[in-house]
């Protein structure tokens, strides 16, 4: 199963580039357009996207118009816009958009929403690759260099969060939240214990970096 492919239509190059960069780093494929009409034209020949991030105020064709194309090719939509008036929000969601994110937003929020929408629509890629490892989140197996490695369920979950957000700093809070839900107020030290175990079992002392006062980051490349 290949990485999830995401269509970005956003006319502000600063935002489009940064979103794209983040998506690339955490392991999504993407294609970005700065013009609604161009995006629609491209969809005619290639529409194998798992998700579309649409701005509403777009040159060429606005996000609402573009939505009908997404519907045609069955691509779930998250609107990404500065329009906060409830009218467009209602319109966006009533038309069938999966979600709606208002500028200015945080990357984490966007990534979480993307993940949720992909999971909800059954498109989330559950098989991740990292270096010589294949991590199957659905069947909860980890294969390193052709050998299966046993992790405890909690260690596996923590590792999944790190892999899904590879190259990004993930805070201990977020790891706890991802695994036990938002309402859980656990000891942050449990995360540290799991991470130490993972490092030992997988021999990834360098790759899993401790970011002081924040959390951990799984780094793919070395500087």
């Amino acid at each position: 199963m290949a990485a999830n492919r995401i269509l970005i239509v956003e006319d502000d190059s600063g935002i489009a580039n940064t979103v794209a960069l983040n998506l690339r780093y955490v392991g999504y494929d993407y294609l970005a357009f700065d013009d609604g009409r161009k995006a629609a034209a491209y969809l005619e020949k290639d529409h194998s996207f798992d998700l579309a991030l649409l701005d509403i105020m777009l040159p060429g064709m606005d996000g609402f118009e573009l939505f009908s194309y997404m519907e045609k090719y069955n691509i779930p939509v998250i609107y990404m816009t500065a329009k906060t008036d409830s009218e467009s929000e209602v319109r966006g969601l009533r038309d069938g958009a999966e979600d709606y994110i208002v500028k200015p937003f945080e990357v984490v929020t966007l990534l979480v929403r993307i993940e949720k929408v992909l999971a909800r629509t059954g498109r989330l890629n559950q098989v991740y690759r990292f270096q010589d490892m294949v991590i199957d989140a659905e069947n909860r197996t980890l294969i390193k260099s052709g050998e299966s490695i046993e992790l405890t369920p909690l260690e596996f979950d923590v590792f999944c969060v790190l892999v899904r957000n590879k190259n990004r700093t993930v805070s201990r809070d977020r790891i706890l939240n991802e695994i036990w839900g938002e309402d859980y107020f656990g000891d942050l030290r449990t995360v540290d214990v799991r991470v130490a175990n993972i490092r030992k079992k997988l021999g990834m002392t360098d790759e899993i970096r401790t970011i002081s006062k924040t959390g951990y980051r799984l780094e793919e490349r070395k500087k």
Binding site: D11, D12, G14, I15, N17, T18, V19, L21, N22, Y25, D34, D35, M57, P59, A82, K83, T84, D85, K103, P104, F105, E106, V107, V108, N167, R168, T169, R209, R217, E219, E220, R221, K223
Partner: protein, 459 residues
């Protein structure tokens, strides 16, 4: 108390007083008239009675000293001429009387022969008594008194019944008058009620309401003035509402415009913090942040300018030549860089304005023209009597965009404008400056041929 009640009350009081006074005057005059004529009649009859009696005595004169003869003769003669209410007294002896009372009790004529009168109530009746003393020609020593009493009770009764009639008539007149006054006053006050209803309707926020009063009196004048007032209130309210709406739209647009660069900055900062990137990528993220920050700064500066135009304006006579020279100087470098020519012609002497603001407006217009033009094309600034125009041979403005072109943050091609560094406030700024000069902004454009923007000052 309401106005119509007051007016009715005052009118009623006046009516009652006038009716009562007139009635009283008429009554007293009538009474006077009736009594005088009754008195005169009685006196006349009394004189006739006296003369007839003396004639009769003279005719039947008998030479005799006998008192009885004389007495009988007098009685006979008097009874021939007298009326029922006459009395004859000779030497203090009543010779003839058919009255139930003695008139001598009430009045005693003097000896000089003048008649005397008495009016009064005797035995329940009003009497007018005339009496006079006379002497009988044959009997010089005898004192003869003739009374004539006239019962004037009927006249008094007449007057009394007249009084009742007057009172009744007065009452009826007053009642009818009151009714009429009330109706008329209320009718003439009706336009006031309409006016009042309109006023309260306007007060409750219904500013389009107008008073409809079609009479030709002061109330209609008042209504007219009232309508004028309502119209000016409506105009002011509309203006205020429009201003508030414009400001709300502006603030909405401003927040929207701020969000995009802010998002860019936050996303890039977030990425820098959280992603393990190579140096090139880090540099790019930092560059992005800088660009977005600069854009925000431009936005803030333009907005401040837009908001302060009306405060900083100081109009004076300025030379158009100087103005255009300043514009040329400040746009020269950027135009040369883009390979665009600027051609200037000035046939105007002076205009009334603020040279800094006008320079800012013209520089904006030249910038816009430059953005629409291709390298090698030319931009013209022409000035003639009260008109300064900036024209280009660039791509032009689509017809449907022309009317929105001066709205804040309106951009015909948003992504292109942003690439060229525009924040969408240039023409809004120009419009604001032009308005502050009481001048007019005219934009003519043909797609593919070019655009001409004209600033027309008032004569």
């Amino acid at each position: 108390m309401k106005l119509w009640q007051k007016v009715s009350l005052i009118c009623s009081v006046i009516l009652i007083v006038v009716v009562a006074a007139c009635s009283a005057l008429l009554l007293s005059m009538a009474k006077e008239e009736l009594l005088t004529s009754a008195y005169e009649r009685t006196e006349l009859r009394h004189r006739e009675l006296k003369n007839n009696f003396l004639k009769e005595l003279d005719y039947h004169a008998v030479e005799s000293d006998s008192g009885t003869v004389q007495h009988t003769l007098q009685h006979y003669c008097f009874s021939q001429v007298s009326e029922s209410s006459a009395v004859l007294i000779v030497d203090e002896e009543t010779v003839y009387s058919q009255l139930t009372f003695s008139p001598e009790d009430y009045l005693m004529p003097a000896e000089n022969g003048r008649s005397v009168q008495y009016t009064g109530k005797i035995n329940g009746k009003e009497y007018y008594i005339v009496g006079c003393q006379t002497s009988i020609p044959n009997l010089p020593r005898t004192v003869c008194i003739i009374y004539l009493a006239e019962d004037i009770s009927s006249i008094h009764a007449n007057i009394r019944s007249m009084m009742w009639m007057f009172a009744l008539l007065g009452f009826v007149c007053t009642v009818i008058g009151l009714g009429l006054i009330t109706i008329l006053v209320r009718r003439s006050m009706a336009p006031l009620h309409k006016l009042q209803a309109t006023a309260s309707s306007i007060a409750s926020g219904n500013y389009t309401e107008r008073a409809d009063v079609d009479s030709r009196d002061e109330i209609s004048v008042l209504a007219q003035n009232f309508n004028n007032m309502a119209q000016s209130v409506e105009r002011h309210v509309d203006e205020l509402t429009a201003t508030v709406k414009r400001q709300q739209l502006f603030i909405g647009a401003v927040t929207h415009e701020f969000k995009t660069p802010l998002t860019g900055i936050l996303l890039n900062a977030d990425t820098l913090q959280n992603i393990y990137m190579c140096e090139d990528e880090q540099a790019e993220a930092l560059h992005n942040i800088e660009m977005q920050g600069k854009w925000l700064e431009r936005l803030v500066q333009k907005m401040l300018r837009l908001l302060t135009i009306n405060h900083e304006i100081s109009l004076s006579e300025i030379s158009v030549g100087d103005l255009i020279e300043r514009v040329r100087a400040s746009t020269e470098a950027s135009l040369r860089e883009k390979g665009i020519q600027l051609s200037v012609s000035c046939e105007a002497e002076t205009v009334f304005g603020d040279i800094d603001l006008l320079q800012s407006a013209l520089v904006n217009l030249v910038d816009n023209a430059a953005k629409a033009s291709q390298p090698g094309q030319q931009i013209n600034i022409n000035a003639h009597e009260n008109v300064i125009e900036v024209s280009d041979c660039g791509k032009g403005i689509p017809t449907d965009a022309l009317e929105h072109i001066t709205e804040p943050f309106f951009m015909v091609d948003k992504s292109r404008s942003k690439r060229l560094g525009g924040v969408g406030l240039g023409l809004a700024l120009v419009k604001e400056i032009i308005q502050a000069h009481n001048a007019r902004l005219e934009i003519e454009s043909m797609e593919g041929i070019g655009t001409t923007v004209r600033i027309c000052f008032q004569q």
